[in-house]
């Protein structure tokens, strides 16, 4: 039985429909990440699960309980908020204790749990401080502690790391991952940061405009995006999406790009093979291109293209080549990046079986 499930959820604010017929369910111990651009309804969905927002239509189940109309405190959930939402007049200890306000526990049990959470999150020295006397990372730890003391079966996070700097975010990401492995609760985690999603999730639901575009493991989402939106949204630098026309000759299926270049598509596992001349979109991840100007054999496509510019991001570099009207990005070794001077023509190869194909009209995967 799934731990959390949304069944035919609708949500409208006045005349505006935010979520339409949404279905989603995760198993016990899963780490579900709701991923999507700003305004797509992630927070709305999470708040409905928490009971902070009314459901217009549909049913939410936690375990075998229908919680759709239950009070937030009776749902057996704990939540960590984006702005931490610590109680400013209470000490850290007071904040953790208030996390247990609705649980009728003996005072010793409350103390034991507070001590346990404080130790787990290494905030013991901070217990008697007020939130205003803590750094951002420390506040985040306290907020997580306040959720953990409840021993809830389901933990909710709403963009908990978005107010932290890059270094701290990496640290906290590992920390949350570690807590999940150690305590193994079911987690529903909202973010628009795909790195967080890829590193922490066991399941990702990619959302756009209130609709779940794809639900799957991080690998599935990354390697086999279900449609153009997911393909373009996941991956940095983004996947190259180029329009092409299908041609069939002597048992070979190829895609012809607008600039005369072509790609061999025989190794692609078509759900159904498109018609001759059909408009498709070919998706090529930047990191699958071979080293520029290296000897080529057995490639699906070989492009001779002029360099536009290169970009270095620390451990990585991205080269941008002129392709038709637009640009084609490819990952290169930083040491090689200097060789790619602007204007110079290079030869790059794309391996077979790595392309993603989409129907140009519907955007769906072929």
């Amino acid at each position: 039985m799934p731990r959390v499930s949304f069944e035919r959820i609708h949500k409208t604010y006045g005349a505006v429909s935010i979520l339409k017929d949404l279905n989603l369910s995760v198993e016990h111990g899963d780490f579900l990440v709701l991923l999507g651009p700003s305004g797509c309804g992630k927070t709305t969905l999470l708040n409905m699960l928490a009971g902070l927002t009314d459901v217009t239509d549909g049913r939410i189940m936690i375990g075998d309980r229908d919680v759709t109309d239950l009070d937030p405190k009776d749902r057996g959930l704990a939540m960590v908020f984006q702005s931490y939402a610590l109680y400013p007049t209470k000490t850290v200890r007071g904040n953790l204790r208030f996390g247990l306000a609705s649980a009728r526990l003996s005072s010793e049990e409350v103390d034991r749990r507070v001590a346990w959470a404080a130790k787990l999150l290494q905030i013991e020295p901070l217990l008697d401080r007020k939130p205003a006397q803590l750094s951002g990372g420390q506040r985040q730890r306290v907020a997580i502690g306040r959720a953990l003391v409840k021993h809830a079966e389901v933990l909710l996070f709403d963009e908990p790391l978005s107010n932290l700097d890059a270094k701290l975010r990496t640290e906290m990401r590992l920390e949350i991952k570690r807590l999940h492995e150690e305590l193994n609760p079911t987690v529903v985690y909202v973010t628009h940061d795909q790195i967080e999603a890829m590193t922490m999730a066991t399941k990702i639901a990619v959302m756009n405009n209130g609709v779940i575009q794809q639900f799957g493991t991080p690998d599935q989402i990354y390697e086999r995006p279900a449609n153009l939106f997911v393909a373009g949204f996941i991956g940095s630098p983004a996947m190259n999406l180029k329009k092409a026309r299908v041609a069939k000759r002597d048992g070979l299926v190829t895609g012809h790009f607008g600039n005369g270049q072509e790609i061999l598509l025989n190794d692609y596992r078509f759900a159904q093979v498109p018609q001759e001349g059909a408009e498709i979109v070919v998706g090529m991840r930047p990191e699958y291109f071979g080293v520029p100007d290296s000897p080529v054999n057995g490639a699906a496509a070989v492009f001779d293209l002029p360099v536009a510019y290169t970009e270095r991001t620390g451990s990585d570099a991205t080269g941008y080549l002129r392709f038709d009207e637009g640009l084609l990005s490819l990952r290169v070794e930083p040491s090689q990046a200097a060789r790619l001077a602007g204007g110079q023509k290079v030869r790059v190869a794309f391996p077979p079986g790595k392309a993603n194909l989409f129907d140009a009209a519907t955007g769906g995967r072929l």
């Binding site: 405190k73 702005s83 109680y87 400013p88 208030f98 306000a101 205003a132």
Partner: protein
């Protein structure tokens, strides 16, 4: 080596550079105008206060000489004693102290009632999903502008029907009711600044209206409570109309007492006693200002969220 040496010389030259003095502020025509204006304002309040204070410390003989700006030749607290213990208000000659204690007895329940009602209403309106909250607020807002005189007679009828007319409780209830609209608006606007996420966290943690109020919201309300406290103490203490209308014969507040003393004087007017009585009536609000005045400004300017 040379580098260090040159760095040292640079440092030295920087240090030895003459300090640029800040220009002295010149007195401009504008600042003179401001100072003159402020002085006039100060005199406007200080001169009458001076006269009242000195007169209250004089004997009647001295006052009759007519030199109202002179300091007392003989300093005496006799007028103060008389005003407090013996002055007549109507046929009752027990002094102002009767009115003082009535005022205190009116003040305390009025304060508690008005603040308790409006703080909880403001909290509910700002932080809970109250149905018709907008309409309710608008009505409150309109009520704040209804002149007291218009509803005075209905209020008399209502207090009479619930049997509190002419008692201290009648006055307290009317004070609480009349203060509600403004106080609710003040509290609601203050609580509106509390981030929704804190309330959401509290609802998930506890879910209890009263527990959240007492443990989370009330401790965050110190500033605004001081503001409201001062507003209410001053307005209740200085009130005359409600006291004279709803107070019974023996439960009239100090202001009514004072007015009776000053206006209905049999025989000659005792200016020194009148002045002393006026000052006695004014002391409690003044005292409050001196004690918590500095929090007042802080309370008006600060929001709810502060560590």
């Amino acid at each position: 080596m040379t580098d260090i040496a040159s760095a040292a010389t640079i440092g030295a030259t920087v240090d030895s550079r003459p300090v640029v003095r800040r220009r002295k502020k010149r007195i401009t025509g504008r600042s003179i105008a401001v100072i003159v204006f402020l002085t006039i304002c100060a005199l406007f309040f200080c001169v009458p206060l001076y006269v009242v204070l000195t007169t209250s410390l004089k004997t009647m003989d001295e006052i009759r000489q007519g030199n109202i700006f002179a300091l007392p030749q003989v300093w005496t607290l006799e007028a103060w004693r008389f005003a407090w213990f013996e002055a007549c208000s109507g046929i009752n000659c027990d002094g102002l102290r009767v009115g003082f204690w009535n005022s205190v007895l009116i003040l305390i329940p009025s304060l508690i009632l008005s603040i308790a009602l409006s703080i909880v209403t403001g909290y509910a309106l700002a932080l809970w999903d109250v149905r018709w909250a907008g309409t309710f607020l608008f009505l409150m807002f309109m009520c704040a502008f209804v002149p007291f005189q218009i509803i005075m007679y209905p209020l008399i009828a209502m207090t009479r029907s619930i049997g509190v007319y002419g008692t201290i409780w009648g006055v307290a209830v009317v004070h609480a009711v009349l203060a509600m609209p403004v106080l609710v608006l003040i509290f609601r606007n203050y609580y509106k600044d509390i981030p929704q996420e804190i309330m959401n966290a509290a609802i998930m943690d506890s879910g209890s209206f009263w527990r959240i109020f007492f443990e989370i919201i009330l401790p965050m309300s110190g500033n605004i409570l001081i503001v409201v406290l001062i507003l209410q103490i001053t307005s209740i203490w200085n009130d005359y109309l409600i006291g004279v209308t709803f107070g019974g014969f023996n439960t009239q507040p100090m202001t009514v007492n004072l007015a009776n003393m000053v206006t209905v004087s049999t025989g000659t007017a005792s200016y020194n006693v009148d002045m002393a009585a006026a000052l006695l009536t004014a002391i409690p609000p003044l005292l409050i200002y001196f004690l918590v005045g500095k929090f007042f400004v802080a309370g008006i300017t600060a929001g709810a969220i502060k560590g």
